[in-house]
Subunit: 428 residues, 2 copies
């Protein structure tokens, strides 16, 4: 039996969930893993919260130094979120020779290089499975299962809050603001939902997953980002008729001409496995040159699923003497040779309000054609005519993002004919 | 740069695929993993096959002893299939201090205890990710990601051949024999398809996955097995109307009263993520007490996806100095304390040919009721009446398997009323 002492920094949803799993499963881990894992110390400003979880007062540390100097602590779990003080605490723990398990996507995405360097120097483990996709085994699958592949692309639904909102808008025809409020009531969205609905959370996670997949640091600042705050239920319902589901997708592609990374709402065929990933579930769809298509699906958030990933890392860490690090940090950070594609290609969905008279559609399609955009499908919705204007729904074949921007600007500047009110990307 | 020498035993679909991946990715692995992985030796009876892959004549070994004594060989890939001579060769390699990567579910399922014992004794790695689910990262996810969970259940579509056949029957209304022939033409089914269509292949895989999940050896002999050879397209189409898809499912449950393991065709709600797993794709749906539901989906077979799993194991093995072994082999084999539930519970689908006269249905339902079977739904198909008989489709609430057996026998023994022609299980 090996004794493993744990310190948990932050007892919010994830830290509290981890504490609960570790204490409730202590006998189980002794039996099946030969590990006696005990929570020796916690760091939590809100002492009441710690006590309410059943933690004894003398287990609550006053500061990080106390944890770093505690010889009973082998592994430090960082579940505080945000950059500071989390970063300083993680570095302090590593410098004190403690291995670290973190669920902090923002911290790892922004400072993986510095943190891994310190972990290597101190011969410590640094694990971050819980940073992406909650309980879904995606980080270790990339590191230890699919590592023989050149990963060609990954497409993820990696934010539970936005997926809950979009599912509700899709299934119930709810408005964005109504769905957001529901998400807040159920605890799926925080009071300040910006990080989720504007796509920052997904951007951090995509930065981590794309870096691992493509073996080069993909800085989050290189990722194109668009949130879901402007999504209109009307477009979701037109999309449905066209056989699409709307999802906030995190897309990474590794092509001969460079790396393409983007987070934005997009229509995806309802036959695609990702289209059935609903509510707060997450999934990552990975295409490798050997494995072909793999999808990893599960709970992307929550105390218990995220705790599962943290505890998985703890047991892994406790069962290994030597640790490996993400290979992309062997490179400079970012590798100056890496090219990022900004003017990516996509198919598009456009909704226009158009004056209901002859020649308007022809004018619109000729403008699109001028910008090398070929129309795939046109629907004119005469049922919902208002003030002599009709809705025209257009889908295009694959074209460059910039072409769409120029064409839309030109259509909208020609007064009194048609206004493009919605532009959404359509992915395979 | 670390040099890793590989020997491949058997150059069929999987061995050949592995050879191709290793040779084509050699520079890539040097760059991203710091490993120079070279195929130093192969063992293949059909020398022509080896040469046609571009393997040099002096790389083809004459026998296993030659490979065991080759100091350039670090890892032996066993891709021969079957028990002998694979087992003797694997043991010889381990005894010679070579780590082993195998895709052989039958061998690992039947002899994991003996093989792991030998691997431990010789300080060698023994890896078998490729034995279950082709390229899907399921074994390592159970060992290194979900290992903090008590796994409550797993439900898998883990045989590509039968899933291809059932998908074809479902989507095109093809008969079983027509779909089987198509599968053979496309190379999805072997000339002798018994191992696939009778469920043996799925049984071997379930034995491995259930043993890992439940931390106790689950011998394949304890697994209830029923194949798909008697499936009638008519039932698939009635099931569709009821909102079900028919799949060959491998089910493992760990309950307070024991372990339940079975492989059989079953109806599953078309809303369940497993229902959309079509053609030769595989998926494993795992429920853990912390992670809740996780599904791992991908190509369950084929040269390149299975090769991906083998190469993943090779790189993992090459990057570790110390190896862990499956915890269930710490127990006796099987652990005498493990109870297996034989009389499991399920909901059922029954199709009856019944004389079209008053009282027949009432007689049938009263027989069911006598055996504690409560009816959920009844459909009488008057459109397809033949010779004064009609089809009656019944679904039941959850009941014991034995109750159904008794009730069906009693209904069928009452002459001239109704014959139960199909009994299929319905799972949640």
């Amino acid at each position: 039996m090996k004794n493993i002492g744990i310190a948990i920094l932050g007892l919010g949803v994830v830290g509290g969930g981890t504490y609960k799993i570790l204490t409730e499963h202590r006998e189980f881990y002794k039996k099946v893993h030969g590990l006696d894992i005990a929570v020796e110390s916690v760091l939590e400003i809100n002492k009441e919260r710690a006590l309410s979880l059943g933690i004894k007062e003398n287990t609550v540390a006053d500061n990080i130094a106390e944890i770093c100097s505690n010889p009973e602590v082998d592994i430090v779990v960082e579940a505080m979120g945000g950059v500071e003080p989390a970063k300083s605490y993680v570095l302090a723990a590593l410098n004190a020779g403690k291995s670290v398990v973190t669920s902090n996507k923002e911290l790892f995405c922004k400072y993986s290089h510095e943190l891994e360097k310190s972990a290597k120097k101190n011969n410590c483990g640094l694990f971050y499975e819980a940073s992406c996709g909650g309980g879904i085994p995606v980080i270790r699958s990339l590191l230890d299962n699919l590592q023989g592949n050149k990963i060609l692309s990954l497409t993820g639904i990696i934010n539970g809050t936005t997926n809950y909102i979009l599912t509700k808008m899709n299934n119930e025809g709810a408005s964005y603001s109504h769905a957001l409020n529901e998400a807040k009531k159920l605890g799926y969205a925080e009071a300040d939902s910006t990080a989720d609905v504007e796509g920052y959370d997904a951007v951090y996670k995509l930065s981590i997953l794309a870096s691992l997949s493509f073996h080069t640091k993909v800085p989050y600042t290189e990722i194109f980002r668009e949130g879901i705050t402007n999504i209109d239920t009307v477009d979701i319902s037109y999309g449905k008729k066209l056989g699409y589901a709307l999802k906030l997708l995190a897309i990474g592609k590794n092509t001969d001409s460079g790396i393409e990374v983007r987070v934005h709402p997009a229509f995806i065929s309802s036959a695609h496995p990702l289209a059935s990933v609903n509510d707060s579930y997450n999934a990552v769809y990975i295409t490798g040159d050997c494995v072909e298509d793999v999808m990893l699906y599960g709970r992307g958030a929550g105390a218990s699923p995220t705790g599962s990933a943290i505890v998985g890392d703890i047991i892994y860490c406790a069962s290994h003497d030597k640790f490996n690090y993400s290979t992309f940090d062997n490179n400079e950070c970012p590798d100056p040779a890496t090219k990022f594609i900004k003017n990516f290609e996509s198919a598009y969905y456009l909704r226009l309000n158009a004056v209901d008279k002859a020649g308007v559609l022809s004018k619109v399609t000729s403008t699109l054609s001028k910008h090398n955009i070929s129309v795939a499908q046109v629907i004119q919705d005469n049922e919902n005519k208002r003030d002599k204007t009709v809705s025209i729904i257009l889908t295009t074949h694959v074209t460059k993002e910039k072409n769409i921007g120029k064409a839309v600007a030109e259509i909208n500047s020609a007064e009194g004919l048609a206004d493009v009110v919605t532009v959404l990307r359509v992915v395979d």
